[in-house]
């Protein structure tokens, strides 16, 4: 059952979006988020929505997949919508009601904003392998090494975490089955009872994680790991024509959004 949990899900494919350099995609997502927060009117939202839809089509990620990813966020989305409907002052829809026309407009825009924000980042994680994302991050953050920020160590930690998530999930499953066989009950009872039931899982999991970390460190040293210095990479990230085109388009898109905001204000 724990196996169903997916973090930073990646759907391999061979579309133009999949082939873009991870650095391009990371920069584009940031530009996209800035552009989204610059949208102040319907025209702005329409443009950002159009950009999202274009990338969805190009990457062959079905809307269904995006929506199923949105599901865990449903509560936050609905709550934001509701708050905006009830707490925006303006012309009431019906005399005496709290709901105003302005409230409805804002609610729809807020829901759109959150939905687009999440969908945009999903388009990144759905089309880029976690390793490519951390590699891209390492390259992009390289300048921070000048101020002694441990870029290599941080990205190595991220990729190790990604590597061990499935292993630890598998182990948790095993421990849970073992405890269940001894009569442990994880499904019933109140919050406190259930939290207590988790303790006999967390303790062995912690102990074994420390042993794992120890063995992993020895194995890495045995394979000549000695920090980021002098290290090369088998897979070199390389910008192609499509990366330059995409980046240019996104800069233009952002510039357009800035202009639009200026004229609206």
């Amino acid at each position: 059952m724990l196996k169903d949990i997916t973090l930073g899900q990646y759907f391999p494919g061979d579309t133009i979006v999949h082939r873009l350099d991870p650095r391009t995609k990371l920069i584009c997502v940031i530009l996209f988020i800035v552009a989204l927060f610059l949208a102040v009117n319907w025209t702005g939202y329409a443009i950002v929505l159009a950009a999202t839809v274009i990338f969805m089509i190009l990457s062959k990620i079905s809307p269904k997949r995006i929506f199923s990813g949105l599901k865990p966020m449903l509560f936050i989305i609905v709550l934001t919508g509701a708050l905006n409907i009830f707490y925006t002052k303006g012309t009431p829809v019906v005399e005496g009601w709290m709901i105003t026309w302005e409230g409805i407009e804002r609610a729809v825009q807020m829901i759109l904003r959150i939905t687009l924000l999440i969908s945009g980042t999903f388009l990144l994680t759905y089309t880029t392998s976690p390793i490519a994302i951390t590699d891209g991050l390492e390259m992009l953050l390289k300048p921070l090494k000048l101020i002694r920020f441990p870029v290599h160590e941080m990205t190595l930690m991220m990729s190790m975490a990604l590597r061990f998530i499935p292993t630890l999930i598998e182990e948790t499953d095993k421990i849970m089955s073992a405890q269940r066989a001894r009569g442990a009950d994880f499904e019933t009872g109140g919050l406190i009872k259930r939290a207590k039931a988790l303790l006999p899982i967390l303790v062995p999991l912690f102990v074994s994680s420390f042993r794992r970390a120890d063995e992993l460190a020895v194995a890495m040293e045995s394979r000549c790991y000695h920090g980021g210095e002098g290290r090369t990479r088998m897979k070199q990230l390389k910008f192609a024509g499509r990366d330059y085109v995409t980046l240019t388009l996104f800069v233009l898109f952002l510039a357009g959004m800035i202009l639009l905001k200026r004229t609206a204000a």
Binding site: P166, A219, T232
Partner: protein, 278 residues
């Protein structure tokens, strides 16, 4: 043949331990040989192995690898690139989410050119028979496959020695066979020196030499045929013998007079057939 690893009366005590884990071990390993190391739990096999690539440094005595003293901190990377090590639990030595990225880890650490890394990775994966799985996620593979990936990760480093610390202990019989045949191939066809630590006596049959460890010292050292032929020694060390040898012991007790040096199933069958035909 020349010597590649040398232990000179090595003593080692783990920090905080009272008892010595290695007490005066002297050992010389020939380049290109297949050495099996056996012994009961806690006899110091892993400690011995960790001295071979400078994970541990002797308290007393010295270890040399390809002529280099392992206590020389400046030569650490040189020593480790020459002596690759594979551990028991494959899950705790695979570092990447994709098979080929994991195999590339050691050459990347050594600063090898990207195109050369690609060649080494493809070569190593082909050698262990896992080339088709290069794009797979390691955690979805079987234990034997994972262990072969770990071996490929070492081969890509191009070491002269490969030390395997109970690589088959967590594997099912199929996985064990896969790993063992890979190891034998490395030694016999690629001239690599192999040090195999194991609990399974039948994995020692094909070794050139067998070393029995007990409580931090070397209790016996010889060819597998010599050592297995001494039932008292094996009994004293609490070690099992291969099924073939057991059969011979049993037959000899019944009054047969069979030699105990036919370890493989084929050879054993041959010896019995001859004896019966007599």
């Amino acid at each position: 043949m020349s010597e590649i690893i040398r232990f000179e009366s090595v003593h080692y005590t783990y920090p905080g331990d009272e008892l010595e884990s290695l007490c005066g071990v002297s050992l010389s390993i020939e380049e290109g040989s297949f050495v099996a190391v056996v012994g009961h739990n806690g006899s110091g096999k892993s400690t011995l192995a960790k001295h071979m690539n400078a994970i541990l440094i002797p308290d007393e005595g010295k270890v040399t690898v390809c002529g280099t003293d392992t206590s020389d901190q400046d030569r650490l990377i040189d020593i480790r690139r020459n002596v690759g090590m594979v551990f028991q639990n494959p899950d705790n030595q695979i570092v990447a989410n994709v098979v080929e990225d994991d195999v590339a880890f050691a050459p990347e650490n050594l600063g090898v050119e990207p195109s050369e890394i690609r060649n080494r990775v493809d070569e190593a994966l082909t050698l262990v028979g896992m080339y088709e799985y290069r794009q797979h996620a390691p955690h979805l593979l079987s234990g034997g496959q994972k262990q072969r990936i770990a071996i490929a990760g070492i081969i890509a480093m191009k070491p002269r020695v490969i030390v395997l610390d109970e690589p088959t202990a967590m594997l099912d019989p199929i996985g064990r066979r896969e790993v063992l045949s890979t190891v034998k191939e490395l030694c016999r066809e690629h001239g690599m020196t192999v040090v195999l630590i194991t609990h399974h006596m039948d994995e020692c049959i094909d070794a050139d030499r067998m070393v029995i460890m007990a409580d931090g010292y070397i209790a016996a050292d010889g060819t597998p045929a010599q050592l297995f032929a001494d039932p008292e020694l094996m009994e004293r060390q609490g070690l099992d013998v291969p099924e073939t040898v057991k059969l011979m012991y049993a037959l000899n007790k019944e009054g047969w007079d069979l030699p105990l040096d036919a370890l493989g199933v084929e050879e054993c069958a041959e010896v019995i057939r001859k004896a019966v035909g007599k």
